[in-house]
């Protein structure tokens, strides 16, 4: 009896240990870094560059800051699948502060990370900031479950012609892109008319 109990107990121990150990060392520090809370409409209004793209390359480049110190920046290359706003070529690169180089490692709390082949919608500024994304990380939506998911775990969706963030995936990725194209086209036309 003791033998059986020992075996069962050890099996459970092993499973729990492996699970906890994996989780323990995969956890990263996550507190701090703050940014303005933006609605989807606010993000659309601020966006200078928008596209549906796929990550093709993630590399770290060293850049010299104002104090003449070299710092790592992560360069993310995208294949532009659908250009939504801005004059974009077939590929586009965005730079994010931080990264791991041979010389140094800089980790920025809550900074989005990227993997090759990930597909996403990007709302960004056409400028060099620590994060070029609108709303620091709010302007990033990754394709998952045929839907676009924000870094905060919400899903970008269209309801009654309005963009909203919802709690569940609606599997409407193509519809959202089409609606975004229309929305940005209307915005550009409006601004063009205003300019005239």
């Amino acid at each position: 009896m003791h033998q059986v109990r020992k075996v069962v107990s050890m099996q459970i121990k092993t499973k729990v240990f492996i699970t906890l150990l994996a989780l323990m060392f995969s956890l990263s520090f996550v507190v701090a870094t703050t940014y303005k809370s933006l609605s989807v409409d606010e993000m659309l209004a601020k966006t200078e560059i928008a596209f549906q793209g796929r990550v093709t390359e993630v590399v770290v480049e060293m850049r010299t800051n104002q104090q003449d110190v070299e710092e790592p920046w992560t360069k993310v290359n995208f294949e532009v699948i659908t250009s939504l706003k801005g004059d974009l070529a077939e590929s586009h690169s965005l730079y994010f502060y931080g990264g791991v180089s041979e010389e140094t490692t800089i980790q920025v709390e809550a900074m989005p990370t990227f993997r090759v082949d990930e597909e996403m919608i990007v709302f960004a500024y056409d400028a060099v900031y620590y994060s070029p994304l609108v709303g620091f990380s709010q302007g990033l939506f990754r394709l998952d479950e045929e839907s676009w998911q924000s870094e905060a775990g919400k899903w970008l969706a269209v309801e009654q012609g309005e963009f909203v963030l919802v709690d569940a995936a609606l599997r409407d990725s193509e519809a959202v892109v089409a609606q975004l194209q229309e929305a940005f086209t209307n915005t550009q036309e409006d601004s063009g008319q205003g300019g005239n």
Binding site: M1, I12, K13, M24
Partner: protein, 350 residues
């Protein structure tokens, strides 16, 4: 790597000892309830009465004894920092943020500036921060830099001060919330102040045994997990800096180990079904309560705990079934018993 290997070894050691028992999911009394806070009616924490008369009882259901944590055991969070540059207004703003937390939670935070502190507040130009980023926490070993920009204009003053309060609160180990200054996404209409809830959360950091990092009333495996999450020379969560030396290292592991409680063996007479249901309800309640304010990492951590709890319960159920099976099948049981007896004899012989 050596230090991490040490921690890994300790984790293995501790894990093998603790997971055979059921983890208690019941919460101990809320530490903050033992304090007598005096808050104004506006919901902001203006002051909290001295807690020196209070004691917190940590009821340990696994043991007959009850650990009483006296005020002498309280461990004010000791934050050492410095402010880069000569910007006097920025310096005043950072100090004000610390003072706000200190006023809201008397005795919970001790902060001081030192020239060689590894936590550095830096005022940076808005040019690189961008129009939406309020503060950045940047790890560049061995330093942790907290970057803020003052150049947000009058309309952004509240956001700037709220970001400062957020950064100080996070240094003190407070978790992310969905609203208030401990939210990562700060809304334009935010008021830069510390709420009663936030002040009490900070008090709770010190009103339990300092080794009880997850504040559940016991120093156990889950506290080791919490410590492991902060195991670095530059602590992100000062509550894990048990020795107060400014870093989370092997000394902190040793201190936690000294109070570490190995769980008792599983009580095979316990009613598994009842406990499973109770645990399930507790887990469900906990999940629903926390889901709103959880960060993904918190969720992962909680998931790990839930997995451990469920695994322990599964282990109990299996053992129960084995017991039942053994009762129903005496032949098989006798074989096991014989084998076990032989092993015991062998052990005795050794």
């Amino acid at each position: 790597m050596v230090a991490r290997a040490f921690l890994l070894t300790l984790t293995i050691f501790c894990c093998l000892g603790v997971v055979s028992a059921q983890e208690q999911t019941t919460e101990t009394s809320n530490p903050s309830e033992t304090t007598t806070g005096a808050q104004d009616s506006g919901g902001e924490a203006s002051a909290v009465e001295d807690t020196s008369e209070n004691t917190l009882q940590l009821n340990n259901s696994q043991q007959d004894s009850t650990t009483v944590v006296t005020p002498e055991d309280f461990n004010p969070l000791n934050i050492v920092y410095r402010i880069a540059g000569e910007n006097e207004s920025f310096k005043a703003d950072v100090e004000e943020a610390f003072e706000t937390w200190q006023a809201a939670s008397v005795g919970a935070v001790e902060a001081r500036q030192e020239e060689n502190a590894s936590v550095i507040f830096k005022a940076v130009d808005v040019a690189l921060m961008g129009p939406d980023t309020l503060s950045l926490k940047v790890q560049n070993y061995p330093e942790t830099s907290i970057l803020l920009t003052e150049s947000l204009g009058e309309t952004g003053a509240n956001l700037y001060k709220s970001a400062l309060l957020h950064e100080v609160g996070s240094l003190a180990g407070l978790p992310l919330k969905e609203s208030g200054v401990m939210s990562r996404e700060l809304s334009a209409d935010i008021v830069p102040s510390v709420s009663v809830e936030e002040a009490r959360a900070l008090e709770a950091q010190v009103n339990t045994a300092k080794e009880d990092l997850n504040r559940n009333g016991r120093v156990d495996f889950y506290d080791l997990v919490e410590l492991a999450k902060n195991y670095t020379e530059v602590p992100q969560n000062y509550s894990a800096d048990l020795t107060g030396d400014g870093s989370v290292n092997d000394d902190d592991v040793k201190q936690l180990q000294d109070l570490y409680e190995f769980s008792d063996p599983v009580d095979v007479n316990a009613t598994v079904a009842d406990e499973t249901q109770a645990s399930s309800e507790a887990t469900t309640s906990s999940t629903s309560d926390q889901s709103v304010n959880q960060s993904p990492e918190q969720a992962i951590s909680d998931a790990a705990k839930a997995i451990a709890e469920q695994a322990a319960q599964i282990g109990e159920v299996v053992q129960e079934k084995e017991l039942d099976s053994a009762d129903e099948n005496p032949t098989q049981d006798s074989n096991v018993t014989e084998s076990s007896s032989e092993e015991e004899n062998s052990s005795d012989g050794q």
